[in-house]
């Protein structure tokens, strides 16, 4: 059947040779110009599993203000300069950052505001609940009041009394301490070790100041991120020479990842191209071989445009993998070129075309199997790669023969043709080869049992060393290394969300302890609860506590000469409170960290250490309150890990099944089909074994790369087995060797990539291809000889 269809197409193409070549030329030119209009994507979100929790967490992070914030850490570099100079530089930078890129700059808040805002009588009635009033009640006794009076008296002797005596007058019992206790966990919610001085965020060493900038630019918006980072860097350059500044932002990761991937693609392409060119010209000594070399590049250009037309946006990462795919796809042209140079007859040409087609089909299937995955990024990779392979196949079968037949001079003989014959006629030490292979395979299999899996997707972040250095310095100065998870409460109105948040805070307190759970409810509950608190406060004092306290103060105050009006500010203001909306002032500033509003929905965030024990406990609360969920980096990693493991359990057997099936379809003989699969089995087992031996963990990327490699190494087995079975003289072994060399160069070039995802891909493919190739030429021929000998005996 293949023969009939192939001959039909082949005849048509040969008849329409000029038109076909013109069409190819025009299509390539059109695709080339299409590259400038195609849209690309820098973030690797599409490579994440579409798990409900992961998707919700990613959506939350995208929609939250975290992702739209930029932190700048300004450092004094001149030892002679002081905090005053530092603050001057910070204020200068803050003043230079204006909309539309920079929406708001926060470089601290005024301590005097803290003192002002937290006047006991304004906030205590609203914030303190029944339990706190019980505590206050416990303070209203002769002993404690006497101690407090003595304390206030003693405090007036101290140097700081200038600042504290007025506070004592409005708070003789020290109720402020109850309020401060509720605020104590606030710095922990920031995750940083921050002090406040002269209205600025300052580090403990006093040499660094922090600015938090809110921007309108979404973290994943690559072009605007570039503009944002460039503008900020320009403004930083204008600062006085005695300061330096580090930018900490997701935008920087987006920009840096894109730069690193682009640089990697450029370096890898150059290394691969130069080496291919050198190899081809050296082996074939024929400039016309350049066309074979160009085929994958034409295929990539066509595939980018076609895949973008289907997908809308194409990931840079997918295009990066295309460089390695180019190495694979050059094989088909290479097979055809060598065969044509050897002047194969019509029947061998068809057989070769069949081999090339089955090779391309196994490769395409190894990509197409990724469509079974639920990860959309894999679909994109499958589409792009399958297109590359298919286009290369079409070029090898139909365009390359046209181009070569158009050549006036006959191509010189392939220098490797003799090697091919020698290799074919070589008498392999059958038992030795097979024994060594079995032993090594067993060793690799044993080693592979201790392989580890790394689910941390942060390690696939390819941001440049400057970005990572800045973050290390930042964490050294400001702390924040302990990651925090977030408990999210959603509501249609702020009040609705705050009311649920109050319940969540209570429940979390009993499950994990309030010390580890920083919530808005801790220091600013819902209006409903604040009103309840006010009523309780009034009732508490009116039911005799006010009179009792006055009496006790009068009794104790005499010995310290306190005047009659000493604590008038407290008693006069005891009931002069009102429910505050916190639309401005310190509470509003603090609230920003806890409240998000988007598309008419309010989200209230609480923070807790990102540890499994807390997540497990707090998950119970999410089941009780609809609209609540947890965002945790560790939980996301665990979900990715479990999702990937599930997918691999389906994808790997499926890829293997496809290969086995195609192999059987090709040979129609189980024995030869199994021999042809030796490189595939060797490649995969050795890949896992070597990774385990080198203590390199498997990850999402290198597993996919190894699955993709199976489609390539199975070709080596198919080619060599096919040649031995049909005693072909189409130069298959030399073609397989050259193709393996080009593949090793293509994937080996990825070892020079700095982006961890590309590097990881290179490592996986490099191991699979080298081991697959070695088993194809060292193990497959002895196995074929063994089978052939047995068949001859049987005959």
């Amino acid at each position: 059947m293949f023969e009939n269809v192939f001959s039909l197409f082949n005849d048509f193409v040969r008849q329409q040779r000029k038109w076909i070549l013109l069409l190819v030329l025009l299509a390539t030119a059109a695709a080339g110009s299409g590259l400038f209009f195609a849209r690309y994507e820098g973030n690797i979100d599409l490579m994440l599993p579409p798990d409900k929790e992961i998707a919700r967490s990613m959506d939350f992070l995208r929609g939250s203000s975290f992702s739209d914030k930029v932190i700048v850490s300004v450092a004094l570099t001149d030892p002679a300069k002081t905090k005053k100079d530092l603050f001057f530089a910070v204020d200068q930078l803050a003043a230079s950052l204006a909309p539309p890129l920079f929406m708001k700059v926060v470089s601290g808040f005024s301590v005097s505001n803290v003192m002002d805002e937290f006047s006991v009588l304004q906030y205590a009635p609203q914030i303190l609940g029944a339990k706190d009033l019980e505590t206050i009640g416990g303070l209203i006794n002769s002993n404690t009041v006497s101690q407090k009076m003595r304390g206030i008296y003693m405090q007036s002797m101290r140097p700081e009394s200038v600042f504290t005596s007025s506070l004592s007058r409005s708070d003789p019992l020290g109720i402020k301490m109850l309020l401060l206790e509720k605020m104590r966990a606030l710095p922990a919610s920031m995750g940083y070790d921050v002090a406040i001085e002269d209205g600025h965020f300052i580090s403990r060493d006093g040499r660094h100041a922090m600015m938090i900038i809110q921007t309108s630019v979404a973290m994943m918006d690559s072009p605007r991120s570039k503009e944002l980072v460039a503008t900020l860097q320009d403004r930083i350059k204008a600062l006085p020479a005695y300061v330096s500044a580090d930018i900490i932002s997701g935008h920087l990761h987006t920009v840096s990842n894109e730069q690193v991937i682009k640089r990697d693609i450029s370096i890898v392409s150059t290394i691969a191209s130069v080496t291919f060119l050198f190899l081809f010209l050296l082996v074939f000594r024929d400039p016309r071989v350049l066309f074979v070399f160009i085929i994958p590049f034409i295929a990539i250009v066509w595939a980018i445009v076609l895949a973008t037309a289907v997908e809308g946006r194409l990931l840079y990462l997918v295009i990066g993998l295309g460089t390695a795919i180019a190495g694979f796809s050059v094989d088909y042209g290479l097979h055809m070129y060598i065969a044509l140079k050897r002047g194969v007859d019509g029947s061998q040409f068809v057989k070769l075309s069949r081999l090339i087609t089955i090779n391309a089909t196994t490769t395409m299937f190894s990509f197409l199997v990724l469509f079974v995955s639920k990860i959309h990024g894999y679909h994109q990779l499958a589409l792009f790669s399958a297109l590359c392979v298919f286009i290369c196949l079409l070029f090898a079968l139909f365009v390359l023969p046209l181009v070569l037949s158009n050549m006036k001079a006959a191509p010189p003989p392939v220098s490797g043709s003799n090697i091919d014959d020698k290799l074919r006629s070589f008498r392999w030490p059958v038992k030795t080869c097979i024994s060594v292979w079995v032993v090594l395979l067993a060793l690799a299999l044993y080693s592979s049992t201790s392989v580890t899996f790394d689910s941390d997707i942060k390690k696939l972040d390819g941001s440049g060393p400057d970005v990572l250095r800045a973050e290390r310095t930042f964490h050294d100065v400001w702390g924040g290394k302990t990651s925090q998870a977030i408990f999210v409460v959603t509501g249609k109105s702020l009040e609705e969300a705050m009311e649920v948040n109050d319940f969540v805070f209570q429940a979390a307190g009993s499950l994990v302890g309030t010390g580890d759970f920083t919530s808005l409810a801790q220091f600013w509950p819902s209006e409903r609860l604040r009103k309840e608190n006010i009523a309780q406060w009034d009732s508490f004092w009116k039911q005799g506590q006010e009179d009792k306290l006055k009496k006790l103060i009068r009794e104790s105050a005499a010995s310290y000469q306190f005047s009659d009006v000493a604590f008038a500010p407290f008693f006069d203001g005891l009931y002069l409170h009102q429910t505050d909306s916190a639309s401005n002032g310190l509470i509003a500033q603090l609230q920003e960290r806890f409240v998000l509003s988007k598309d008419g929905e309010y989200r209230i965030l609480s923070y807790f250490p990102d540890e499994q024990k807390y997540i497990d406990s707090l998950k119970e609360i999410t089941l009780k309150y609809p609209g609540t969920f947890i965002v945790s980096g560790k939980a996301m990693s665990a979900s990715i890990s479990s999702f990937t493991a599930k997918e691999i359990r389906i994808l790997a057997p499926l890829a293997l099944l496809f290969n086995v099936l195609l192999s059987w379809l090709f040979f129609k003989d189980w024995k030869y089909a199994l021999i042809a699969l030796v490189p595939l089995v060797t490649g995969v087992v050795w890949f896992v074994g070597i990774m385990s031996f080198l203590k390199i963990p498997l990850n999402v990327i290198n597993i996919v790369a190894s699955i993709v490699s199976t489609g390539v190494i199975v070709d080596y087995g198919l080619g060599v087995t096919y040649q031995y079975r049909h005693k072909l003289r189409t130069g298959t072994i030399i073609a397989v060797t050259i193709s393996a060399t080009t593949n090793v160069i293509g994937t080996g070039a990825l070892l020079f990539a700095k982006h961890p995802a590309l590097h990881s891909t290179g490592v996986a493919m490099f191991i699979c291809i080298i081991t697959g190739y070695l088993s194809a030429i060292l193990v497959v021929p002895p196995l074929c000889s063994l089978l052939e000998a047995r068949e001859n005996i049987n005959v």
């Binding site: 003693m154 200038v162 004592s168 000469q561």
Partner: protein
């Protein structure tokens, strides 16, 4: 003549302090003015240089506090030991005994009531840190840095009295109405520090027997066991 001018200046100062701020400002054009230095920054720097030209300092003090909270004036007597750049010990001897040591990193205090030493990390108390930063500046004599956050004017020339009124950008603005410092005749250190608070409280500290650059015993900076 010199004495006469001094009395007028002192009276002006007294009137200024006693009047509400709006009245004081309204009265300003009519009152006797002390000539202001042409270059205030240079003047302060010059004075600061003189008054901060020491490595160590020990002085006795008497502090009078007229506070709304108390019926009578609170009068305290004690000693201050200062070692540059960042070490101040404040010992109150009467009416109660109390000691505090302030360094750039911590506050260590002791009082006879509890007889316990309490140590507080300055870094973890931003409010306290601000309070003590202010005091350190006043005691160390480095006044040049105050121009950015205070309106400064010379109240009197002999002895030299300079008044600092916190501006809006000054943390102290909420609490302190003004601070007047009176220099010794040789202008090498303070003779008096008078702090007028927004609440109406007035604190006056008079420094006596001030000795500069004298070797200080290590126990001068101890808060427990007292010196």
């Amino acid at each position: 003549m010199k004495m006469h001018a001094g009395i007028i200046a002192a009276l002006s100062l007294a009137i200024f302090i006693m009047l509400p701020p709006s009245l004081a400002l309204a009265a300003e054009p009519g009152k006797v003015k002390t000539s202001q230095p042409a270059d205030l920054a240079a003047f302060l720097q010059d004075i600061g240089k003189k008054a901060s030209n020491f490595k160590t300092l020990k002085t006795e003090f008497t502090q009078e506090k007229k506070m709304v909270m108390f019926k009578e004036k609170l009068v305290m007597k004690g000693r201050i030991y200062l070692e540059k750049p960042n070490k101040i010990a404040w010992h109150v001897d009467s009416p109660v005994r109390y000691s505090v040591l302030i360094t750039d990193k911590l506050i260590r205090q002791w009082d006879e009531d509890t007889n316990k030493v309490q140590e507080i990390s300055l870094a973890k108390n931003p409010i306290f840190q601000n309070v003590l930063n202010q005091l350190t500046v006043w005691f160390s004599g480095e006044y040049g840095s105050l121009l950015d956050t205070n309106d400064v004017r010379v109240i009197k020339r002999d002895p030299l009295v300079i008044e600092f009124i916190p501006r809006d950008n000054n943390v102290s603005k909420k609490v302190i109405k003004s601070i007047a410092i009176t220099f010794r005749d040789d202008q090498k250190y303070l003779q008096q520090l008078r702090i007028q608070e927004v609440s109406g409280d007035v604190t006056t500290i008079n420094f006596i027997n001030t000795i500069m650059n004298t070797p200080l015993k290590s126990n001068s900076f101890e808060v427990k066991g007292r010196v």
